[in-house]
Symmetry: C2
Subunit: 144 residues, 2 copies
DNA sequence: TTAAACCCGACTAAATTGGTCGTGTTTAGG
DNA sequence: CCTAAACACGACCAATTTAGTCGGGTTTAA
């Protein structure tokens, strides 16, 4: 029902936690997983993906961990979700071109949905990790 | 990946078709399904749901069919999706209270996401069937 | 009376999501 | 230089959700 996946939820919790991490210290996957009762293997994989895509920086070896690779207001919700779940597409037609759907010639909704998709991505990209951390206070998403 | 379900897609195609139906005529499930290559049983069920929730009016018996129960600009995308897929919740915490998640006391994201959810619903409720029919021309979603 | 249509719930199959496991690789610290 | 703590990765299984099917109804125009 148009829901963000558990993986994204976990990722966002972890990112928020890392944002509040004292400067100079690292967050470890296991530790974060324990705090929020997240299966640690699952969180580990999520953090690895976030690191691979440049949202987190990983420090290898014993006493290693993760830190944010950029400032909280530069990490957008759209980015986090796309990183963890793959390309967001309100409808299939929007991400894959040509869309593999059977409607092909008769698909009357792919054009309007391309516009909706675009506006939805703007919506998501206007929300930053910092906003989420501040409980969305004072956020009036403005449009155009 | 944050996608509208096939059922909603089918429903929207059918609604758009019905919007363009000559006044006084009905659209039949089988007929619409054929045009857009939608499995007819599936579409039938979707149209039944839309009728039950008051978005469509059904005409029973032979030579029956469906017509829109209200004008195109009064049918909102939020309404259609909620009707077909059930309550939209970006995260579970938002729809069910209390949320059944294990994070319970330590869930740091449910509050901000309640706000995001609210804004997302506004986003969806500003898009009408008429907008979709007009290929979203001239639609600048404005926010607050 | 019949056939065309809506109506409804139960069921199955396919796809996606959520979570686990095993095996590496890197590196601080003893 | 060894060990343990941590990241990295891919393969796999389980649970849930979505998609689609089927077999019955009921209503009504012709």
């Amino acid at each position: 029902m148009l829901r963000i996946s558990k993986k994204s939820e976990y990722g966002i919790m972890a990112l928020k936690h890392l944002l509040n991490q004292p400067a100079g210290t690292f967050g470890r996957a296991k530790e974060i997983a324990d705090i929020y009762s997240i299966p640690s293997e699952a969180l580990a994989k999520i953090l690895q993906t976030l690191a691979r895509k440049g949202i987190l920086k990983s420090i290898q070896g014993a006493r290693g961990g993760y830190v944010l690779a950029k400032s909280g207001d530069n990490i957008k919700l759209s980015e986090i979700i796309e990183c963890i779940e793959g390309p967001v597409g309100i409808v299939d037609c929007v991400t894959s071109e040509p869309c593999g759907c059977v409607q092909i010639d008769n698909c009357t909704i792919s054009d309007p949905f391309r516009v909706i998709q675009e506006q939805f991505m703007i919506f998501l990209s206007r929300i930053s990790l910092l906003d989420i951390n501040n409980e969305m206070e004072m956020r009036q998403v403005s449009w155009q």
